[in-house]
Symmetry: C2
Subunit: 222 residues, 2 copies
């Protein structure tokens, strides 16, 4: 057991060093990075599709899409106007900093202001691996249930923002918005909590403003 823990710690340490190198590379190019994580089907790809046109006048965006096997997500991001790169993890359950470094090789960093990394659909594993991005965003969704912050506390507590997607389904799902919000706030008082629907567009302006404010703060900090 000790042997196994030691191996995991070594992998994590190597990953963190590569993540720091990614961060330095992004900052040298003036690029701000978001790492978007979620369960399968929470709506990451649709969120990115809806976000890209709304950011178009303010920021130039690149997308790195992590997926087990297909390139469906990058195709959707490219169709929505982003410079998009697909990383197939070959079955691995999360992106790591080395995979993102390979993605950065393929993106013209001088031509973008914002990098959105869409992680593999998995609420647990991606949250333990730094990629070198500046903010962690978790997308949860109404049909998944209001108990998710309580059941996946380590995932929720590591985020800078939690988006609750599919609010259009609130009338037909047994979901207590206050219970969810309380769970999020208890775990992590400081994070941004945004409820939205990619289907109706409700709440998307606040999400766009949040992104713009993060990028602006980062620029002032340099």
């Amino acid at each position: 057991m000790t042997q196994r823990v030691a191996v995991v710690e070594r992998i994590t340490k190597v990953n963190d060093q590569l993540a720091e190198a990614n961060r330095a590379r992004l900052e040298a190019a003036g690029v701000f990075g978001l790492n978007i994580m979620a369960s399968p089907g929470a709506g990451k790809t649709t969120l990115i599709e809806r976000t890209l046109p709304l950011l178009a006048e303010r920021l130039r965006v690149g997308v790195i899409d992590g997926d087990l096997a297909t390139s469906l997500d990058a195709e959707r991001a490219a169709a929505a106007g982003a410079l998009a790169v697909q990383i197939n993890t070959g079955g691995a359950c999360h992106l790591d900093a080395n995979m993102v470094a390979q993605g950065l090789e393929q993106l013209p960093l001088g031509e973008i202001d914002l990098l959105i990394v869409e992680n593999v659909g998995n609420l647990i594993c991606p949250t333990g691996f730094q990629l070198g991005t500046h903010r962690n965003v978790l997308v949860s969704s109404v049909p998944e249930g209001d108990d998710k912050p309580y059941k996946y506390p380590s995932s929720f507590s590591r985020m800078d923002a939690v988006l609750l997607n599919k609010t259009d389904l609130l009338p037909v799902c047994d979901f207590d918005l206050e219970r969810f919000r309380r769970g999020v706030r208890t775990l992590n008082e400081g994070l941004a909590f945004l409820a939205l629907s990619c289907k109706t567009g409700e709440g998307l302006p606040a999400w766009i403003d949040w992104i713009a404010a993060q990028v602006e703060t980062s620029r002032k900090g340099r």
Copy 2:
């Protein structure tokens, strides 16, 4: 990289040996085992809650619930009438055969016919670890989208049955049932595909019949 692969292979091999021991132990006690896997929020726990009363006249059921941190799921299974044991994985993203062996220690195997293992909410990692159960069941759900078999092929192809839950949401979700079914069938022609709603009860009788048939076939095979 070779080093890392070797470690993973060794862990998997040890797990498979422990899984075989679990299987032998279940069979010696005449217990049939189901391993239920799904994304967070697909409805595993609710499915088990709804299943237990419907099986009550036919089979005596024990439940092992895997969870990152809480005992919410086992409490719900116990309230629904099962002998239930909670395994907290301490943050690990899937159950393994050793954890299930510890759960078996706490269950009176002579008093049950069916063991339901509720895995950790994760569509990827649990599918790679045998537990010693007899059938693998994946619960997908309508709001997750009809692209899931295409995006998580290795998970779907390893199953004996795929349940599509939350069919009550078909009218309000953009979900092509034929596209989903085609994806499942292409990956794995032989598996059972059952559409159901734990909310309305639609499709639950077919699921109960499927379980009963599996247990019956297994008894005849001995």
